[in-house]
């Protein structure tokens, strides 16, 4: 559990640093932080096997770090640098790490559900024993993609868990103001699918529940909805102060039940000393600082490789007649087709 505590702390410290770097204008675009949701990220990922697959929405830093993607690769991606996990092409919302089975952070609410369903379909077609965790926020359950994906997953008995991270607000709209059935896990019943709710700030409960549902998915090809109740301390994104739709008291009250504090006190009960925890603090701070240093040192992507990855190798030949001299038919830019020098 010490290792998991360290991962949770890594996410918290990383996110705090990301916010600082965003405000220093080293990170651009949107930046959605996972602070407060660490037990869900770490617990769910801990319950996964190494070869299980993960897909998330755009609040993705915590899941990538929990899955083992290096803080260096994530921070470099946030900085838009060549050594980022998507080589500076994706940014905060589009982290990935296919070596660890992480098939992306996706930016359109609900859009990742159909394709995660397709990953599960491919696993079945390939007779592989893995399962898919598809993370989504509480706002995504009101999208049509949710309905279509759950129906297909149940109809075809696909090994997939739809993990609804219910942090109470879709941007600034509370679950009660958005969902006619605010107990989101109950919606699974419409598809004769198992649905379950867990305290997403209780690390042990998250692990136990996720592991049980993953086993069902893998062994019996039973998909499920798992709703993790948690809370985000920061706004929807760094640009949102997060106070227009909730009170400071509410945030303070939630912080009394902080997943890190809870896990730390469990560790102390189990015999961990202040020095043990301090040592973890120290290590995590150093790791995050190393990630910032790494990101700063990583070169920017090569402008000549602007179209890198857009089409597969060999496609430049197909595009050769679109505009001679230009790899993919564009008017002004010439691409070398390489990732960079």
């Amino acid at each position: 559990m010490l290792a998991m505590y360290e991962q949770m702390l890594l996410i918290r410290v990383f996110e705090t640093e990301a916010e600082r770097q965003y405000k220093a204008a080293r990170i651009g675009g949107y930046c959605h932080l996972s602070s407060g949701q660490e037990a869900t990220c770490v617990g769910v990922v801990d319950a996964m096997e190494d070869d299980d697959l993960l897909v998330t929405g755009y609040r993705s830093h915590g899941f990538a770090l929990a899955r083992g993607t290096s803080p260096e690769a994530v921070m470099a991606e946030l900085f838009g640098r060549r050594d980022g996990c998507a080589h500076g092409r994706g940014g905060s919302m589009h982290l990935l790490d296919t070596e660890r089975g992480y098939y992306g952070g996706w930016g359109i609410v609900g859009g990742q559900l159909p394709l995660a369903t397709g990953l599960a379909l491919a696993l079945v077609r390939q007779a592989k024993p893995q399962a898919v965790i598809c993370e989504l926020g509480d706002g995504a359950v009101n999208m049509g993609a949710w309905h279509e994906s759950l129906n297909l997953a149940a109809l075809w008995r696909l090994p997939i868990i739809f993990l609804v991270v219910n942090n109470k607000y879709g941007m600034g709209t509370s679950v009660e103001r958005a969902s006619a059935e605010p107990d989101l896990y109950k919606r699974a019943a419409s598809y004769r699918m198992h649905g379950e709710q867990v305290d997403g700030d209780d690390l042990a409960a998250v692990i136990e529940t996720t592991r049980r549902l993953l086993d069902r998915a893998r062994d019996q090809r039973e998909p499920a909805v798992l709703e993790a109740l948690t809370y985000r301390y920061r706004g929807h994104s760094v640009a949102d102060a997060g106070l227009a739709y909730r009170t400071k008291d509410e945030i303070t009250e939630r912080q009394q039940r902080d997943p890190l504090l809870r896990t730390a006190s469990q560790l102390r009960e189990a015999g961990a000393t202040t020095d043990d925890l301090r040592e973890i603090d120290q290590r995590v701070e150093e790791r995050v600082q190393a990630a910032v240093d790494f990101a700063l040192d990583s070169p920017e992507p090569d402008v000549d490789a602007l179209a890198w990855g857009m089409y597969a190798k060999g496609s430049d030949e197909q595009f050769a007649r679109m505009r001679p001299g230009s790899a993919f038919g564009e008017e002004e830019l010439i691409f070398d087709g390489g990732l960079g020098k």
């Binding site: 359109i108 859009g111 993609a145 050769a320 038919g329």
Partner: protein, 337 residues
């Protein structure tokens, strides 16, 4: 008994409909590669809304010819995800009109995967679907959005106009490593032509064809507009007008070299499409021809497309709105001055 040499076998052709050519391509690719599977509404038990997949479920089973509920966003997305794990899904959409409800999966997801993830994961999927008008299917079922998709970096779009290309381009699309939209056409399904039987035959993506040689004017077209253009060219020949027809075959990548070479020869260009011309395929062509062939042109580039209205039901109104042969012939005469 006739003895057929391997060479003759490789060159053998059979006359068949566009629909049968598509089916042959699917059957050959299903047999060639275990990763290939078909998914869509009514593709299996019903044997295809337009019977393109007839017999394939019986031959390859319900796993490889997979019926879906009416959930375009869901199963197009399922195709995207399966492709990301190395499968070769061929997703059938009943008509292009219905692809609009899956637009998010096509444009925001499939088209983005290669570039947005820095080349770390690919999406080798095919979506095939017919567009077109002319059967009084009215406003919601008679549209052609080829240009929308062809204008999206990350996608490839092919639009076969004859049975041989239907087979060759569909096979090329299935073997491609990127998401390819194969736009078919309802009126062409019954058109007949010679189709190579060689299972290795493909039509390369990104290569236009000169479908008819001529010297007076170039008609640039794709899909069913090419069928119309060839017909018009045949009629105009009787008037002594010698029109060349360039069949684009691929919209993205676009073979501008072949178009420009033809216009350099004829000095006049008419672009024809089934869809609305504003901001459409012919708009793109006119801009590119005007730039690439500025010194060659003896007249402004002309365009013909669907009248810019939601297509009405009444037969006479529908006919008037279509890029019919009378309008194409009139435009040819206009561009010839």
């Amino acid at each position: 008994m006739t003895v057929v040499t391997p060479d003759e076998q490789a060159q053998a052709v059979e006359r068949m409909t566009y629909r049968e050519a598509l089916r042959l391509a699917l059957r050959e690719e299903l047999a060639r590669d275990e990763r290939v599977f078909i998914m869509g509404e009514e593709v299996g038990v019903f044997e295809g809304s337009y019977k393109v997949t007839a017999g394939l479920m019986a031959e390859f089973g319900a796993d490889r010819v997979r019926d879906t509920p009416i959930s375009e966003e869901g199963f197009v997305g399922a195709g995207v995800g399966a492709a990301m794990l190395g499968e070769r899904p061929v997703v059938e959409i009943m008509t292009l009109n219905f692809l609009l409800v899956a637009m998010d999966q096509v444009v925001n997801h499939a088209a983005k995967i290669g570039a947005m993830f820095g080349g770390e994961v690919r999406c080798p999927m095919v979506i095939r679907t017919p567009n077109g008008a002319g059967n009084q299917l009215t406003a919601q079922h008679s549209q052609s959005f080829d240009g929308w998709f062809a204008g999206t970096p990350g996608l490839k779009v092919v639009t076969p106009s004859n049975p041989a290309d239907a087979k060759g381009l569909l096979k090329a699309a299935i073997r491609d490593e990127d998401p390819v939209l194969v736009i078919e056409n309802l009126p062409i399904y019954k058109e007949k032509g010679d189709v190579p039987l060689d299972p290795g035959f493909i039509t390369p993506i990104g290569r236009a064809a000169v479908a008819r040689q001529g010297s007076d004017v170039t008609i640039v077209s794709h899909s069913f507009a090419t069928v119309r253009a060839l017909h018009v060219a045949g009629q105009l020949a009787e008037e002594g007008i010698d029109a060349e027809v360039v069949d684009l075959r691929s919209l993205r990548p676009l073979d501008m070299e072949t178009v420009a070479a033809s216009v350099a020869k004829t000095n006049r260009a008419l672009c024809v499409e089934e869809g609305w011309p504003s901001y459409g395929v012919t708009a793109e062509l006119a801009a590119r021809i005007s730039k690439a062939c500025f010194d060659d042109l003896d007249a402004p580039v002309e365009r013909v497309g669907m009248a810019e209205v939601p297509l009405p039901y009444a037969k006479n109104l529908e006919t008037a709105a279509m890029p019919n042969e009378d309008r194409i012939a009139a435009a040819v005469r206009s561009v010839l001055g």
